[in-house]
């Protein structure tokens, strides 16, 4: 079953002449880790804002968690968790108060003025969260102004998971975080994904983050450029080649020509295109003693730059 179905989605802002999102269609399967990748202004935030009911679409059909986005927006909201690009915590409240407000808005617990008045089940969950966050009990009751960026992000994720959403949307969640906080956050996300088996929809412009997802959808200027598993995208869009050099460069070049291996003429080292062969096979075909051999590992970054650069 699909957790998200998007058909011919178009969004045109009132003051804009161009479509920010221009007729995109894709599905996200239940339990899938899906990434929307693209440069700034590609339409990522517009798409995620529409999927999370913050923004209305111009046209198209969307189903999230089995509900029509337009007609059943309240049902959709109940079933999704959202981490916004900009922090959406209330800085005037404590960590616990932020969580409590969320729980009440989602109808999990009745409102009580104080933490002590809340039911035991809620207190248990807050206690668990304190451990997950690595906070002391005292810190949980402090204003979050003092928290680090990474800590706030983690708190937002925890908050968004309180109502056990079917789909978790993350809009560039690691933006502005230092490398260590990014890694910690990523590890934590991987852990909760494994545990709760939930569908995760991520937008990012960090390629390394998209390398680890099940499927990635690359968009540019509002259109889908490529969609598939990161490996598939790499295979279909990047060149697989080896770089070789030899002391007897003339001989090497003649041999390559003779054996009809496709290579890019010009500077050394020579780029030999694999054309569907394995690197091993090509290397075996070359008899000229090599002074340098590099097997090129295509990265998603290369594919991405190629796509985004071309369009």
């Amino acid at each position: 079953m699909n957790a998200i179905i998007v058909k011919d989605l178009v969004k045109k802002y009132h003051k804009s002449e161009q479509n920010a999102v221009d007729g995109i269609s894709f599905d996200v399967k239940e339990g899938e880790f899906f990434a929307l990748l693209g440069p700034n202004g590609a339409g990522k935030t517009t798409t995620i804002s529409i999927l999370t009911t913050i923004l209305s679409k111009t046209s198209g059909e969307i189903t999230v968690a089995g509900f029509d986005l337009e007609r059943q927006s309240s049902d959709v909201r109940r079933r999704v968790g959202i981490i916004f690009q900009n922090p959406s915590l209330d800085e005037n409240l404590t960590a616990e108060e932020n969580i409590r407000l969320h729980c009440i808005l989602y109808g999990l617990f009745p409102f009580k003025v104080t933490y002590n008045g809340m039911p035991g089940e809620y207190k248990e969950r807050v206690k668990e969260l304190t451990e997950v966050l690595g906070l002391s009990e005292k810190e949980m009751f402090q204003a979050i102004k003092t928290f680090s960026g990474g800590m706030k992000r983690k708190l937002e994720i925890i908050r968004s998971l309180m109502h056990k959403p079917h789909v978790l949307f993350l809009d560039e969640p690691t933006i502005g975080l230092d490398p260590l906080s990014r890694k910690n956050l990523w590890d934590y996300l991987t852990e909760i994904r494994k545990k709760d088996k939930m569908t995760v929809f991520l937008t990012t412009h960090y390629l390394d983050e998209a390398e680890n997802v099940d499927r990635v959808c690359i968009i540019n200027k509002g259109k889908i450029v490529s969609i598939g598993a990161p490996q598939e995208i790499k295979n279909s869009l990047t060149e697989h080649y080896i770089l070789v050099d030899a002391d007897e460069r003339l001989k090497l070049r003649m041999e390559l020509e003779e054996k009809r291996l496709q290579f890019k003429d010009g500077d050394f080292p020579v780029k030999v295109i694999l054309e569907g062969r394995s690197a091993q096979e090509v290397i075996k075909m070359i008899d000229t003693p090599l002074s340098l051999l590099t097997i090129h590992q295509p990265s998603l970054e290369e594919a991405y730059l190629q796509i985004v650069g071309e369009k």
């Binding site: 999704v80 922090p87 005037n92 009440i104």
Partner: protein, 259 residues
């Protein structure tokens, strides 16, 4: 049920925010001190008996009405602040009705405005404004009505000015003229037709006058101070307030989505 709980939670959040904002707390009490203390007392000694009623009491009630109306309206404008800080996104993606959000916000700002009124009453007591505690307590339900009216005005303003700095910058221009048009500290009973038409257009006028019409009811100063009968003030507040609330909320939420 969840909607009611959410109203309480949103209101609680607003009230807590107020209590934790030291600057706002201090600013809350400075204006009443200036208006009732300085302005009221100096005019009272100058005009005194010429008016035929106690000027300080007149200003005292006016400032209560103005505070309730303005504070709630200004609080609703903070929806745009939330928007900038992106906290409102957390509220707006929750599965509650958009009207619940605005009602919660108005309720929260009502609590804020009421606590400001407690400050005003205490200050009035200290400087010996000749008010009756019983009569002020009897006005309590009307305080709530004025707050609702201010909140409805606030959401209408936000719905037209949109999120961001626009609303915050324009709001003072919409509220300060109303101090004078509503007769908070200046009698507007006999100011001639052209100006009178303007005063009718200032919503705050009805918020201030409804309190005075309750307080002065049955007193000799009633005819000199009160502009419209209680029922007419109430009719305008409830009617106009409901229209502003429903239309403002609808316009605000659809405008947010239909960018």
């Amino acid at each position: 049920m969840n909607e009611f709980q959410s109203v309480l939670a949103i209101a609680y959040r607003d009230f807590v925010k107020f209590l934790r904002d030291r600057n706002r707390l201090i600013a809350t009490f400075i204006f009443p001190i200036l208006f009732i203390g300085v302005l009221g007392t100096s005019f009272q000694s100058g005009l005194g008996d010429a008016l035929g009623y106690d000027y300080r009491l007149f200003v005292f009630l006016g400032v209560i009405g103005q505070t309730l109306f303005q504070s709630t309206a200004a609080g609703i404008i903070s929806l745009t602040e939330d928007r900038e800080q992106d906290f409102s996104q957390e509220i707006f993606v929750s599965p509650i009705s958009r009207f619940t959000i605005v009602i919660g916000k108005i309720f929260g700002e009502t609590l804020v405005a009421m606590s400001q009124v407690i400050g005003i009453v205490l200050f009035g007591f200290i400087i010996q404004v000749p008010f009756s505690v019983g009569a002020v307590l009897a006005m309590l339900p009307f305080f709530l009505i004025v707050c609702f009216f201010g909140g409805a005005f606030g959401i209408l303003v936000v719905s037209f000015l949109g999120a961001g700095r626009g609303a915050r910058e324009v709001f003072p221009f919409l509220i300060f003229p109303q101090f004078f048009l509503a007769g908070v500290f200046n009698p507007i009973k006999d100011i001639g037709l052209p100006l009178n038409i303007l005063t009718y257009m200032a919503p705050m006028r009805y918020g201030v006058d409804v309190l005075r019409s309750v307080y002065y009811s049955g007193s000799s100063a009633y005819d000199k101070v009160v502009l419209l009968p209680l029922w007419m003030n109430l009719l305008i507040i409830v009617g106009l307030g409901s229209v502003m609330f429903v239309y403002g909320t609808y316009r605000f939420t659809t405008k947010e989505q239909n960018r």
